[in-house]
Symmetry: C2
Subunit: 535 residues, 2 copies
């Protein structure tokens, strides 16, 4: 056996796409801190110099050049220490998703990621060429095997070869997006790899929100027996030091599910708002649970003074909705404004009357009310520079139970990937310590209040039935037949699947929102609008 | 030398994604016609059984199974003739972009596309594995080399090997989307390949609109000396027969540019509307050139009785706008309705007054007017099942000179990829035979008429300057430095590029529209919203 006399810093940072000054400054700050702490090596996430995913910015030569300059700045700052950091390497006109091992101010080795994900939310083959060689470097008496992200997920990856060649310590840097339960998948995989290869595995992940993706951090280290010996929190920046031969942790617990989702949403909102240059947000409160939960998340993300609630009653709005909305805002300490839509609505109807040719009221009038509200929120946004946060959940986004340019209008859709049943779970969890979301809101039958005595269940099956069907179809990619075989009524399954299919055009014009499930309506959902396929 | 005693049918069809019944019926109809004409072989486009691009429908096992059944149906219908047709082949759990050579009712050979495009609008590596072997088959005394689309664009593709092995006739089937000038690139390439390899090249392309893509057809055959011996029209379905040893054509001309673009837009609109189950469309006419051109395209695509024009004047709308809009509708024989927005607008302002805290009028009030119009059009759409066609051009979509949920609200954005200067060229071309777009509209300075005496050039440089800068940045991916080096004012270039960068959030919520340039705001433009990169 050998000793692992090495102190490593896990640099779990939150970079911003394209912000080379910010990203390199963050890295350099932590390098300095690590040197001060007498660490031997500090490890940063995949592509953390550029931010992830840089998408088509990678096609710009200046972007690549700036990234290279940032790497050089980082290298220069790394005197007397080693650094492993992700960047884009251009060689012979080709781009690689790369990582540099820097030792005492010099780039000693550049590794090219060998396994490029091109599925789900990932498009890495659009930009990068696969690397074709493993990298082992010797540093302070240890043999260190290099790699990036996906390299650890494949069964016969570069690490296997590196281990065969004597690697004792494995570095794996990541930009691995969050979804429910992902951290435990990572933990199990790393444990398995460490045990199998009898090597120490250092896994460093990015943290932060980037458009629809939330990187959850949760960096960790496993020793050669497969014991977790260091772990960073999820959802926050951290520089954690680990003495490989000394440190042990026991009883480490990741966040439990409703809280984990809540933290992901909070970080997603915070980073979208702040990184896009906004400081305040506005939310239309309906008196329902979706907008109340969205408000709570926004307040946690931005602070109560930076969030504005607007209640926009129509002739169908109940007294209860007013009371509950007001109470939700009060509970959170948020400014509450009221803008009635009735007068504008009736003027619209009057103007449209000649064109409607005596046709009866239908979904048109419902959508119109939602759109008037959307207009008010956007007017406030334009005038006061508040970002509009929309409040639709995934059950609605799936089935199209939402209004394009109405309740869908806004910059960021906070709970668009949260199924309604999870909305309830989040509300219950939030209320555990003290009542945040008025209990009356939670107890009440969900309603859009766009016509008299309306409830969601006029059109949709109960959410306890809708959600698992929706999740089976959208997230698990199951067919109607397979879903029916799970024990659901065939008619209901067919109806829901048809609703999901024909709502694609709405989703295409929806704002982005944080992904928390294995498959969200975003980069990992690429479905044609023009589509005659029938399940 | 050998004789090419073969009569081939080029089956340039317009399939619909996921419509296996329709697609196989189209193919079978043409097979029957080809047999009746005593053709030896009939060739259909890439993935024409599924439609292209099927995107994530490819992840559904039932989709793949239905596609296979459709292939079997086609094979069964191909007694006494040969057919080359694109489909998805599943083998050992992996998908291939494949083509079947069917002879006398039996699948004789299956070719797997060896070069998978994963750039621009293409994501083929998301779904398919590359094939790894060439296919030559012998049929009626000729050696035929098989391949699909991209295979012909690479320098050392499968065809080179097939030629070495004696192929005399090359089949290349495509789902190649249109952009300006693409047909000539294809023609030159095919001519070059045919000459170099001294073989006959049969190139069959798909035709039709699929969301943002327009496939333009233009199938063609080159003899072994590089002479064009057969060519299908662009933008329409066709079954063209060619006797390889006999047929010659001389002086073939593809469509010239403004007309070619016009035909692409018309087909894009027609297929989007019809394939999505609409039969009528509505357009907000402003009295400006964009909406007038959009109206003309819609009338050509759908017929004048299926298109509705709505004029929505505000207090800033001039008499001239009314006259010009009315005349544009009259010229095209389209129903013209008028819905003033003034009353609703003033009610909005009144309701917002307490929230606006005495702030002066700004872009907010302008956007609000555009959004009221958007609401009216959407209300008509909801009530009467008319698809809203939006009228914004690419110069506006680039710079963000448009209102989200306002003039951007609708199902299909007809000219979103057409720069303003091309809008003028199209209008002039349209007016050549008779005045379609009133000359007053063409002559007038462009204005959004959202405040007094407004013109586009209050905010934007003249379109003759804006468009080439925009095109250099967006379509040619040039940097600010490179664009300035082309001779443009640095300040103007920087301003335009900054406008383009910061409008990404709007484009993300825009409806799709037909792509006519080498790079549109769609699948080939994947730029993060959260983006601190500065040119």
């Amino acid at each position: 056996m050998y000793n692992l006399l090495m102190k490593i810093g896990l640099g779990q940072i939150n970079p911003t796409v394209g912000d080379f000054n910010l990203n390199s400054a963050k890295i350099i700050d932590l390098i300095e801190e690590a040197r001060h702490e007498k660490a031997d090596l500090v490890v940063f996430p995949e592509l953390c110099l550029t931010g992830y995913p840089p998408e088509d910015l990678l096609l710009k030569p200046k972007f690549i050049a700036d990234n290279r300059l940032a790497l050089e700045k980082v290298a220069k700052a790394a005197g007397g220490i080693a650094v492993y950091v992700g960047f884009v390497h251009q060689e012979k006109g080709v781009l690689y998703n790369a990582a540099a091992f820097i030792e005492d101010g010099k780039v000693k080795e550049i590794y090219h990621k060998m396994n490029l994900p091109n599925y789900g939310v990932f498009d890495e083959k659009r930009y990068f060429l696969e690397g074709n060689k493993c990298s082992i470097i010797s540093y302070k008496g240890l043999k260190i095997g290099l790699g990036v992200c996906e390299d650890i997920w494949v069964e016969k990856g570069p690490y296997e070869e590196e281990i065969k060649k004597g690697a004792q310590l494995i570095l794996n840097i990541n930009a691995s997006p969050y979804h429910v339960g992902k951290i435990k998948e990572r933990e199990e995989l790393l444990k398995r790899r460490a045990k199998k290869y009898k090597a120490t595995f250092v896994y460093v992940n990015m943290v932060g929100g980037q458009d629809e993706l939330v990187f959850d951090g949760g960096s960790m280290v496993f020793d050669r027996r497969g014991n977790l010996i260091a772990a960073c929190d999820q959802f926050r920046e951290e520089l954690l030091f680990v003495d490989l031969d000394k440190d042990r942790i026991t009883g480490w617990q990741w966040l439990e599910e409703p809280e984990e989702i809540y933290r992901a949403l909070v970080l997603g909102v915070k980073d979208y708002v702040i990184k896009n240059g906004f400081s305040e947000a506005v939310i239309g409160l309906s008196g329902g649970i979706d907008s109340a939960l969205t408000l709570a998340i926004a307040v946690e993300a931005l602070g109560k003074d930076r969030v504005h609630a607007v209640f926009m009653p129509s002739e169908y709005t109940s007294e209860q909705s007013y009371r509950d909305a007001k109470k939700a805002a009060e509970n959170l300490g948020v400014e509450f404004a009221e803008i009635p839509i009735k007068a504008v609505f009736s003027h619209y109807l009057e103007a449209l009357n000649p064109n409607f040719k005596g046709k009866p009221a239908d979904i048109t009038e419902e959508n119109l009310q939602a759109r008037i509200r959307g207009n008010y929120l956007m007017a406030l946004s334009n005038k006061l520079n508040w970002l509009v946060l929309t409040t639709g959940n995934k059950s609605e986004m799936s089935t199209g139970y939402c209004t394009l340019y109405g309740d869908m209008a806004g910059g960021f859709a906070v709970i668009k990937d949260v199924p309604k049943t999870t909305v309830y779970r989040l509300a219950d969890w939030l209320n555990k310590k003290q009542t945040v979301i008025p209990e009356a809101i939670i107890k009440r039958a969900p309603t859009a209040e766009l016509k008299p005595n309306q409830t969601d269940q006029d059109v949709l099956p109960p959410y306890e039935i809708l959600d698992p069907i929706m999740q089976a179809y959208v997230e698990d990619n199951k067919s109607v037949k397979e879903i029916v075989a799970l024990g659901f009524d065939a008619k209901i399954v067919e109806k829901i699947v048809a609703m999901i299919d024909r709502s694609e055009y709405k989703r295409r014009q929806a704002p982005p929102g944080p992904r928390i499930t294995p498959r969200a309506f975003g980069k990992d959902w690429r479905v044609p609008i023009t589509n005659h396929f029938k399940e």
